[in-house]
């Protein structure tokens, strides 16, 4: 059983991601955040469930759609928003933008927008942990698209060979930009079995079921540490807005209306709220209060980001090497 405290905390974490992303989307048109953004709205449970309870010394890597992972790992919202605004207070001093987040104090080690490219880097980090005799975990979030790259297979292979303490988390949202999974992968393809055939244990979980993700990954993390073995986790989920940008793009009709409706009913946050209310752990008043608290912090964080300075030439000159 999950304690009441943790139940509330799981919801709060998901809400934090959702409200942050929604506010980014809402304010994007003001043109102060001038970088491509890949929002995680709809995919909050995967990030929250997997990252919950990790230590700061456990390291998380991600790709282009990394806001949720960054927030779930405890990354500073002020630094995130500053980065999106291109400010010096950003987590990469404005040099990276939304596609290059990191928070080293919190163990969010990096995110890159070249599909698949952070998988071997995370694997190398797990290798470093092994060579340095550290018992920390490495977690790499990757999309269904990323599993088509060669480095995905190479990384699984190597992690298995070297018995690395790494958790590969594939968030399958069924689309790579506008391209549905059945146009890119054989219907007979089975990711969990692929991992198994390379000597890696695997599990499939509904990616919108926060409690199940939390409970199962808790065991998985123990398993990885105890056996010094990698693990592969497959989570099905859905993004609610466009691939890149702040808008809904369902008018383009690349996703079936029934599929969209199916996943809307499966909203990880709405459903969990209902569940907690039914369990009497939460009521509407408490929920409003919780949202209000997050909202107020967000308003402050946005204000902070907007008020910070842009980086100056000086920082750039530090990188000149020719």
């Amino acid at each position: 059983m999950i304690s009441k405290k943790i139940q509330i905390k799981l919801l709060e974490e998901m809400l934090k991601i959702r409200l942050t992303e929604e506010m980014i989307a809402k304010k994007y048109y003001e043109q102060k955040m001038r970088c491509p953004i890949h929002l995680s709205i709809g995919q909050e449970a995967t990030a929250t469930g997997v990252c919950f309870g990790l230590k700061d010394s456990d390291k998380v890597f991600s790709a282009h759609r990394s806001h949720a992972h960054y927030i779930a790992k405890g990354g500073s919202i002020k630094s995130l928003l500053s980065e999106l605004h291109g400010k010096i207070s950003g987590c990469a001093k404005g040099l990276g933008g939304s596609m290059h987040l990191l928070d080293l104090n919190k163990g969010f080690s990096g995110a890159v927008p070249i599909v698949g490219s952070s998988i071997p880097i995370a694997t190398g980090t797990a290798w470093a942990n092994k060579l340095k005799k550290l018992n920390d975990l490495v977690i790499i979030f990757l999309g269904d698209g990323a599993t088509e790259e060669g480095v995905f297979f190479e990384s699984l292979d190597f992690a298995s060979l070297k018995k690395l303490k790494i958790l590969f988390v594939c968030e399958n949202n069924f689309f790579s930009v506008y391209s549905p999974i059945d146009k890119r992968q054989s219907k007979k393809r089975n990711l969990c079995k692929i991992a198994n055939s390379l000597g890696i244990k695997s599990t499939f979980i509904d990616g919108n079921d926060i409690e199940n993700i939390y409970l199962k990954t808790k065991q998985i993390k123990k398993y990885i540490k105890k056996n010094s073995e990698p693990f592969f986790l497959l989570l099905n989920t859905f993004r609610y807005i466009e691939h890149c940008g702040p808008n809904n793009d369902d008018h383009l009709k690349y996703r079936n209306i029934n599929t969209i409706k199916f996943w809307e009913k499966k909203c990880p946050i709405v459903n969990y709220q209902k569940k907690l209310i039914k369990r009497k752990i939460l009521d509407h008043k408490k929920l409003t209060k919780l949202k209000k608290k997050i909202f107020n912090t967000l308003i402050k964080s946005f204000k902070y980001a907007e008020e910070q300075n842009f980086p100056t030439k000086k920082i750039l000159n530090e990188f000149i090497d020719a």
Binding site: I37, K87, I114, E149, S179, P311, K313, I315, I320, A322
Partner: protein, 352 residues
């Protein structure tokens, strides 16, 4: 004959359509070629017209570049599209070792015609991994054509000519050029590969550019004219083969030459051209050469720094001022508008 003004991206689409229709061996492939955005409009809806010859692909760049080579050596004509230059780097081995060498390795027995379209990103915070041009990496390798059309006219002509080639051809398209308009020649218009084009003739100074840097050269030529300087603007069009003769001829005439890179000038295209001009015209008295390129760092995402990294027309004019030993009055007023580094025009709002 009445000239037609068309958008660069529209001309690409028409030309691809024209070649798909004319040559049944042509196969179009790449991530998103059949999606609702159709690679910034350049392949929009072609999949509906050519049902079995336009293919979306898995995110497997290294693999599918090899697949394309496989098609090519078996008589087909693949056209690969990458929405950013950077995505093609996953297939650099296939490109350098296989595609560029297949014809040579087979003693010339097997040719492997194909087109690889590489799109250069810029602005709206693209940042370090979505805005590199890297023409030099590809131009360094013998065995391929590398083309950089900068106008609707040359994009038509160079695509058409590439479809006639036996060699593989890389075509660089700058994302900001997709949005530009210009005279569009008829569907069967050809531009000779390996020829530069004088876009504007002049007598005082030569400005050499390619791809988007041509736009900067033309803009700076306009500013220079206000100071009574007559600039000749050369669009390279083709980086490999390189039409050095057109450049030399112009340099001999003006004795002042500025080469403007699209990316970094350090070991850049401008370095090669400067070296050749210096070698071949070393006896020419008073010859002056300068070259400009992006700041020697990765490209920052924030616009406050990106604007300091890109060469802009003002920088070219400043270089010309120095080269010509002039003092241009009130030059500062030609410093650029804020949105220049970040947006090609005010309507460009990303996200990419």
């Amino acid at each position: 004959m009445l000239k037609k003004i068309k958008k660069y991206s529209e001309v690409i689409k028409e030309t691809l359509d024209y070649n798909l229709k004319k040559n049944k061996k042509v196969v179009l492939m790449g991530l998103g070629v059949d999606d609702p955005k159709g690679i910034f409009g350049t392949t929009l809806n072609l999949h509906k017209k050519y049902k079995n010859r336009v293919f979306d692909l898995p995110t497997a760049e290294n693999g599918f570049t090899g697949f394309a080579l496989g098609l090519s050596i078996n008589g087909m004509f693949p056209v690969i599209t990458h929405q950013r230059v950077e995505f093609s780097l996953l297939a650099f081995e296939q490109f350098v070792n296989q595609i560029a060498k297949w014809n040579f390795m087979t003693g010339g027995k097997v040719s492997n015609p194909m087109i690889i379209r590489l799109i250069i990103g810029r602005g709206w915070g693209q940042g370090p991994q979505h805005s590199q041009s890297l023409e030099i990496l590809f131009s360094h390798i013998p065995g391929v054509n590398v083309l950089t059309p900068s106008t609707p006219q040359s994009v038509r002509g160079l695509f058409n000519s590439s479809f006639k080639e036996k060699k593989p051809t890389i075509i660089f398209e700058h994302r900001w050029l997709h949005e530009t308009y210009g005279n569009s020649p008829k569907l069967n218009y050809f531009t000779k590969i390996g020829k530069a084009k004088i876009l504007k003739s002049g007598s005082d100074i030569t400005l050499v550019g390619f791809s988007y840097s041509v736009i900067n050269c033309l803009e700076s030529a306009k500013i220079l004219k206000k100071f009574n300087i007559s600039a000749e603007v050369i669009d390279l069009q083709s980086l490999r083969p390189l039409d050095i003769n057109t450049i030399l001829k112009s340099a001999k005439k003006t004795k002042n030459i500025i080469i403007v890179d699209n990316g970094w000038s350090f070991y850049g295209i401008s370095a090669e051209i400067s070296a050749q001009v210096a070698e071949k015209l070393c006896n020419l008295k008073n010859l002056k050469i300068d070259r400009l390129g992006n700041k020697n760092t990765p490209m920052p995402s924030t616009k406050s720094l990106a604007k300091l990294c890109y060469v802009n027309p003002y920088d070219i004019v400043v270089s010309a001022e120095k080269m010509l030993n002039k003092k241009f009055k009130n030059l500062k007023k030609f410093k650029l508008k804020e949105y220049y580094a970040d947006q090609p025009n005010k309507n460009f709002l990303g996200p990419f």
